[in-house]
Assembly symmetry: C2
Homo-oligomer: 197 residues x 2
Amino acid sequence: MPDALNPTRKRIIDAATKLFYAEGIGRVSVDAVAEKAGLTKRTLYYHFQSKDDLIAAYLDARDQPNLKQMAGWFESEEGGPDRKVQAIFSNLARVARHPKWKGCGFLRTAAELAAMPGHPAIKVGARHKANFESWLADEMANRGLLEPKTLAREIVLLMDGAFSTMLIHRNADYVEAAGHAAAVLIRSRVPPADAAN
Amino acid sequence: MPDALNPTRKRIIDAATKLFYAEGIGRVSVDAVAEKAGLTKRTLYYHFQSKDDLIAAYLDARDQPNLKQMAGWFESEEGGPDRKVQAIFSNLARVARHPKWKGCGFLRTAAELAAMPGHPAIKVGARHKANFESWLADEMANRGLLEPKTLAREIVLLMDGAFSTMLIHRNADYVEAAGHAAAVLIRSRVPPADAAN
DNA sequence: TCTTGTATACCGACTAGTGAATGTACACAA
DNA sequence: TTGTGTACATTCACTAGTCGGTATACAAGA
């Protein structure tokens, strides 16, 4: 049983990532992933139990890099939390304009697997989204904003809405509009200044 | 060439609607749709040029009923626009709790076809979403709210975010949270009372 | 006789997954 | 140094079935 850090396993996941994200999990055959990885399907099935297992592994491998990218955009922006969050949306709008952008891999996979709510890949996606929401809530709380959990959830809703809307309209204005709304909601949670101090 | 109101064509679309929504367009074969409609695949191909054509027809048939349902929920609720919009979200949360609920058919189809941005079904979906946004903007404007178009777009973003998030977490709390945020954004657009009148 | 609609039967390509054999690296013994 | 056992890793060839789409025939109504 090869471990999670096995280099061949990694090569397969890299190939799967490119193909699944570009074409969608249902439109990519296991043969195609194996060929992209430069090995045979039988070898792929040595490293993964099934296609479903491979799909879950593909999303699991995206979890941390994705969170790091969001956090990087947040931290790189100067200013208050409203500007920092809006910077995430602006960066998303920028990358979403690229023709290779095909939405959020987690959400698209959940949409493709909507008929199988217990699918392991959906659980991985749910955990990723929960991680992001939790990170966001912590950032909001650390900056003293009111109702940090509610606020984080609202931002998540706007962001996932931006992903979906962008996918159907292919118009990045929706992403910017979501960022603006998020900034407004954040500013509404700035605690009143205490003149006594 | 059969017309759009042809009863056989309607039977096929009804069958396609049930299957495509329940399983996803990629997981349903043309054979399965034909069988559900009680006819052969060859007959289906007499009425529709291709599976892609059938997918677009399926979404097109959902456009008006979907808008009418939203408008019905909006109109049935007593109170101001904030309460009326929140009622849409509450009704969505209610139906989304049903195990047969599988998200928004338009968004799910767009996610499945993300690799084909020009696909006719995506254009149909984009038009439907634009229709909804436009209706919402009119309702907001008719009630004298400020920035009705921006407001409508923000509500749409929250709603599509609710659809996506619900699909991955299967937790209707997200839909209610989106409804609450929408109500807050609406109230922030109530024009200041003019004491002089 | 021409048009509309339906059915049977089929095509070639592709699908996820597997059986059986082969190759390879390394440990350990002679 | 050489031989051998073993577990890991990989390949080829295959199964059994599904896919979207079509060639052909036929039946009924105008």
